[in-house]
């Protein structure tokens, strides 16, 4: 009888399910580099890079920061120079978006390849 499920099949099935659960637990987002730090006027708030959230910065110009699909960008810049918006999306550890008029620093925490940019 070919069709009949055997003992080994059940062991295989259970094993696979356990393996999948194990990998899900290991790869669950928790590492240091997945934290987004937003500093406005010396006040720092941290977010997870894995959440989808829209943040109003509540500084002088009240810019809008969007964290979505593991990317961070300034979606609406009311500041005069719009440098922060022009920077576009950041997603790698160590990258940052800075808005001088708003006194805002957005940074993805953790050691990326580049530790700082001479500017």
């Amino acid at each position: 009888m070919i069709n009949k499920i055997k003992k080994g099949d059940i062991i295989v099935f259970i094993g696979v399910i356990l393996l999948i659960l194990l990998i899900s637990v290991i790869t669950f987002p928790k590492s240091d580099g997945d934290v987004v730090e937003i500093t406005v006027n010396e006040k720092t708030t941290t977010y997870s890079l894995f959440e989808n959230v829209t943040i109003e910065t509540n500084g002088e110009y009240n810019n809008v920061v969007v964290i979505k699909d593991k990317k961070v960008r300034v979606s609406d810049a009311r500041c005069p120079d719009k440098v922060c918006k022009n920077t576009g999306e950041i997603s790698k550890k160590g990258q940052s978006i800075i808005c001088v008029p708003e006194k805002m620093i957005i940074k993805i925490k953790g050691g990326g390849k580049i530790d700082g940019i001479a500017n």
Partner: protein
């Protein structure tokens, strides 16, 4: 909203802050990291109170609005004036802290920047010149109505000060970023050198770089035409004023980076070399045995001989040319 406790390594401390109209950040590792960084920030704030051109009560503002031709400075300020005059002599006036009247005229920070008239520029030029400053310790004699602008050297000076403070606190690993002036102390906690990116001068993305250098215990300072500028009729007017012409420098460089353990010197010389241009600048730096990375208008990247082994070029796709 999910708030995460940043579970960073035990002895790491970072602070991001705004002073001197620019974003700053200090990350230090070690037992006294927090105390060292906190102390450094109050030190930088104190310097801002002395050197700021925008604060009315700063020593520089008070000196610029002086009655008469002499002014007595504090020791900190006079020490930096003395150093600046040294750098002015060394660079044959390419670096100059007496351009206050000109930088007020070319207000590149303004929301509605204007191009000054030629007469305004030539009038302002008469009120400049480091040779018109005569210093005797804390006493400074002004030979004309010149105004000081120490913006080209104060961030570097602050970097050196922070280095001293952190060292006093026994910190052996730190990265100091004062508005793009970088000082790396020791190595990273994992015993590898720090990677410091060199900004891509022709990309608005703040994270865009043309490459990076792997270094330890040194300062990296860049001057470029992209930092503060406005474009009118297709011409880029940036914030680095050539003391000879009184207008934004028109050399063949778009970015000049100096790598030196003295951040004050790196700050002054990066400005000076940017103004001197490639040929004169490279000759000057070679004579003084200083490391550099220059980027020309034709997007050529020039790296000093000593630095080549620690430089990683990443600008090929962006149109930069680097010939090892």
């Amino acid at each position: 909203m999910l708030l995460l406790n940043s579970c960073q390594s035990k002895n790491e401390y970072t602070n991001n802050f705004f002073t001197m109209d620019t974003p700053m950040s200090i990350t230090a590792y070690g037992k006294n990291a927090k105390e060292g960084v906190t102390k450094s920030i109050s030190y930088i704030n104190r310097l801002d109170g002395l050197f700021s051109k925008t604060l009315n009560q700063s020593e520089i503002s008070l000196a610029n609005n002086r009655d008469g031709s002499a002014y007595v400075f504090s020791e900190t300020v006079s020490a930096l004036i003395a150093k600046s005059l040294e750098y002015s002599k060394a660079t044959d006036g390419a670096f100059d802290i007496t351009l206050g009247t000109l930088t007020n005229l070319w207000d590149t920070k303004s929301e509605t920047p204007k191009i000054p008239s030629e007469k305004d520029i030539s009038d302002a030029l008469k009120l400049t010149g480091y040779k018109n400053l005569i210093q005797d310790k804390t006493h400074v004699l002004f030979k004309n109505a010149l105004k000081l602008d120490m913006g080209g050297v104060v961030k570097g000076y602050a970097c050196d000060g922070v280095y001293e403070i952190l060292s006093d606190y026994g910190i052996k690993s730190a990265i100091v970023n004062l508005g793009g002036n970088i000082y790396v102390i020791g190595e990273k906690p994992d015993k590898t050198p720090w990677n410091v990116g060199i900004k891509d001068p022709r990309n608005d993305d703040q994270n865009a770089i043309i490459g990076y250098i792997s270094v330890k215990d040194t300062s990296i300072v860049t001057s470029g035409d992209y930092q503060r500028y406005f474009i009118k009729d297709g011409i880029r007017y940036h914030h680095i004023i050539d003391p000879k012409t009184g207008s934004p420098s028109e050399s063949d460089l778009i970015s000049a980076t100096i790598i030196s353990p003295s951040s004050t010197m790196a700050d002054a010389f990066s400005t000076a070399v940017f103004i001197m241009g490639r040929e004169k600048g490279e000759k000057f730096l070679k004579e003084n045995n200083i490391d550099y990375i220059l980027i020309t208008k034709s997007k050529e990247v020039i790296v000093s001989e000593n630095l080549k082994s620690s430089f990683t070029f990443e600008g090929k796709e962006k149109g930069y040319i680097y010939d090892k």
